[in-house]
Symmetry: C2
Subunit: 557 residues, 2 copies
């Protein structure tokens, strides 16, 4: 990256005078960050399966996927649920009419056709479903659920099946309610930017539709080519635009859904303001399909930002990173769209694992990546260079580079987004997706490293199972990815990590699942992030909406 | 306003070359818009009592306030609630210790001391409470509610008592739980901008605290000097910053509250991301104190914007207003902080009523006011002048002015914020706070005017009760204020207006209460904005949280 604008002290000042090296990167495709993920995922951290269930590594690509019932033997089928019968299947076939809307493994042998609906993309979860239904309308969803509720048949709503916690595939023989046929954009208001679309619309399809009209979807993530907007809302996906556009709790204006008894939850408001009663749709946002099936979404979409700039810099401490973030919020303010943290160890590992040349020549204990998005390239470049001049002048930042074109933008982003892949280089990786108050965010990485080192587990040689302990993440959102790359499977590592990590996070009132949700994986650990009172209230809400418990059972809470 | 920069076609282009007349307005105090409201209120529309309960006018300033039980004779006291006894009072006095924390009208005659807690600031609602409690801690709130629930005593949570729909005062003899003693800022993180504060902190106190640190509260409204942040959250206040910072459903990160049975709802998260279970706090946001009492709020605060610009312009049709809004969203994008609509009639009435000189010389059927807030004055002025050049060049806008200093900023804002006061000039005003899809937003004003005109009610002479039918509002939020100023009370007017207005709004899936909430006033009309299914679900939620119905009874749903 020799030609990118290096911005050490005086060089930057010279650059400012001539207005040349500070180059703008205009009309960058917003999906460019996603390019580096290399696979589909429901989050902006596509390679982050949780450590639960053992170390994840090369074995994950083997051909047969273990049944979830084998990995989680403590899960028992709810005996209140009925077994699927040919009569049930007959009802569904008559209801949905078309042959292609029903994959029937009850009266026929179609195991192979069922497999993609039974397993997740990580090949970590696998269910035993015998029936996949693909409704084409809200009315059909309603009739299906009413029938299932009346007949005690359990159901798993399934969008793009790109989740990371096993939430979108069955555990036992739950019916899969696949939403892919409900894929119409219902309306778009070009003045207000409010989009109404079926739950089964693929995120990228919605985003492309909007981009043609000068807007963007307020959410972006690696799995955009497969995930459904209904699934995004059901899992309250965070993604790459959260720092700028906020969470779905603020941008989703209305939902249409079907409750377990077939009732249509008709709250598809297209209004920014509506203070008439409890905002019940919020329960479905992040409810992971346990209260009902989202069938349509109304969402407020922001205008496109034609100007995109990316800078990468080295800092000498985590305190400096916090200072830099404060300055970025102040000076870049309305155009700041990402503030990412990478520790020096994660960058070094990337260098070692894939022989990557890093953007900066010196070595620093911390690196940050800043992205700005705005409506005016000149203004944004000007703001960014003032900011960089300030943070370098004040020695908050030690050295930095600024991307000059789209290739360099992608190159800088790859230093952040390529980490996950490189960490698997030695074998498996223990991974945690956590929210931690900003002032203590990185402390967990140091504490974990110290703990594993004291236990004699970390080192450069083969007898040490742990290669290193690294941290990186969406610093702007307070979201840390703690990662422990390993050479070999060693039970002692997991024992040192858990419950240590969860307890550490709980003590700081952090979250054990920042953006990935609970699903099967994190269900047992909710108590680390929510009090008994809150969990009990949640259970009462679940019972109120779904007294028979047919919706997405064995998961969530 | 002769010296403000007039921006007609070629003049603007000249101005652009010299970069002189397009002047920036820096470091404007964010409360400046509120200056023009002239009184306290829980919303950005302080003079907007609903039309329900008869026309509001000069009589509102009379000395005695009618009891709510007289204005709403259909409300009957719930016979399940106990009558307050001296024993109850003794318990509360012992619990709260201090004399000043209890105003006891049960064993003493303190009617005058109770009056401010029994009546609202509009002098429209008045209750019969005999007891006001001022807890000093969450624990005290918990003990009070547990006792009330055990003894079937009804309770009204009260913040700054600045609401517009009678939600914060008792109807019968409910105990007032006044939150003013819980007024501490608990913590502020200068890096993340996350504030945690007691519910009874006054909005302005919180905002001033934040401004000293370079941040602002993400909500601003006319009543900021009196209203509590707990009340703001409980009523999901909209206010003046919604277009820019979004709703409280997105910015509130955590809540602490006490449920009717005394249970402490401990969800005071300081995290931007936390996907661990149902987001229950959302039910309390806008729940108007019917599910529990909010005792503390955790909220994400944006950085201050030092640069503020305001422009005012005339347009020839509502279609052009929509076009201008689209262009403003596109070109001003990240710095657009307000887009307000005023029809020509509202501006003319203002001219007539208070002999106000309007900023533009010509007359236009529509006017818009745009405000930008950003981190860099030069950039913002540049963006705004490009925008104005474009919309004038394309003849989207006919004429316009741009404020040159703080006085002119206030002067332009007064053309929007002064309307409400002027409309009362002839007597009373029927007022509606509505959300309507943007493309049809103004049509309601024309349809209502046509209807009243056909009925022979509108005219310039004394025999016509209606002066005019006008519309204005937060166009950027899709929020219309339909106003019907009248000379005299005439039953025919109300008959023509209702249920016509509500039905018109319901047909377009609008909201009959955009930001003011339901309270006592709108309770009977929720069916116009929510389906029976949704209202039934809400009632189930209410029963789940508050089976005895002691929290803020006779209101909401």
């Amino acid at each position: 990256m020799a030609s990118s604008a290096r911005i050490a002290g005086s060089a930057l000042r010279r650059a400012r005078c001539s207005h040349a090296p500070i180059h703008r990167v205009a009309r960058l495709h917003p999906a460019i960050q996603a390019r580096w993920t290399g696979t589909t995922s429901a989050t902006s951290e596509p390679h982050q399966p949780d450590a639960q269930g053992g170390v994840e590594g090369k074995t994950a690509s083997s051909k047969t996927v273990k049944f979830t019932t084998e990995s989680y033997p403590q899960l028992k089928r709810n005996p209140n649920f009925a077994d699927l019968s040919p009569d049930h299947v007959k009802y569904f076939k008559e209801l949905l009419g078309s042959e292609s809307a029903v994959i029937d493994g009850v009266t026929a042998d179609v195991a192979e056709d069922l497999e993609p609906f039974n397993s997740d993309w990580m090949r970590k979860f696998r269910g035993h479903t015998k029936l996949v239904l693909k409704p084409g309308s809200t009315e059909e969803v309603s009739k299906i659920l009413k029938y299932c509720n009346d007949n005690s048949l359990a159901v798993v709503p399934q969008g793009g099946n790109t989740g990371l916690v096993g939430g979108s595939v069955p555990v036992f023989d739950e019916i899969v309610l696949n939403m892919s046929r409900m894929n119409k954009i219902r309306s778009f208001d070009e003045t207000s930017g409010i989009l109404v679309a079926d739950a089964g619309v693929i995120l990228e399809v919605a985003d492309n539709f909007l981009q043609d009209k000068g807007y963007v979807f307020p959410l972006d993530l690696g799995a955009k080519g497969s995930c459904h907007i209904g699934g995004n809302v059901a899992t309250n996906a965070g993604g790459l635009r959260l720092l700028r556009y906020g969470s779905l709790h603020g941008t989703v204006l209305g939902l249409e859904a079907v409750l377990p008894d077939g009732t249509v939850f008709d709250d598809l408001s297209k209004l920014r303001k509506n203070n008439t009663g409890y905002d019940l749709k919020q329960l479905l946002i992040g409810g992971e399909g346990t209260l009902g099936v989202i069938t349509a979404v109304s969402i407020m979409c922001p205008q496109q930002s034609p100007a995109v700039n990316v800078a990468y810099f080295g800092l000498e401490s985590y305190e400096k990173c916090q200072q830099a973030f404060r300055e970025a919020r102040g000076q870049l303010s309305e155009i700041l769209s990402a503030f990412e943290l990478m520790d020096g160890r994660s960058q070094k590992i990337m260098q070692k694992a894939v022989d990557k040349k890093l953007p900066l020549e010196g070595e620093y204990p911390f690196y940050c990546l800043i992205e700005t998005k705005g409506s005016n390239s000149d203004h944004d470049s000007d703001k960014l260079s003032s900011f960089l001049e300030h943070v370098m002048g004040e020695e908050i930042v030690q050295d930095g580079v600024l991307a000059q074109d789209q290739t360099q933008v992608a190159e800088l982003w790859s230093c952040r987004e390529g980490i996950t892949e490189c960490l698997g280089h030695w074998g498996g990786v223990y991974k945690y997706d956590l929210s931690i108050p900003l002032n203590e965010l990185y402390q967990l990485v140091d504490d974990t490293r110290e703990r594993l080192t004291k236990a004699g587990l970390v080192g450069d040689t083969e007898e040490h199972p742990v290669v290193d302990v690294v941290g990186y993440g969406h610093m702007g959102d307070g979201n840390l990815h703690l990662n422990v790359p390993t050479r070999s499977f060693d039970k002692r590592v997991e024992k040192e990590l858990e419950p240590f990590v969860y307890e550490w996070v709980a003590k700081r009132n952090g979250s054990i699942s920042a953006e990935h949700g609970l699903g099967v994986t994190k269900k047992p650990y909710i108590g680390y992030s929510r009090s008994e009172t809150m969990v009990n209230l949640m259970k009462q809400i679940k019972d109120l909406f779904d007294p028979k418990g047919i919706m997405n059972p064995y998961k969530y809470i």
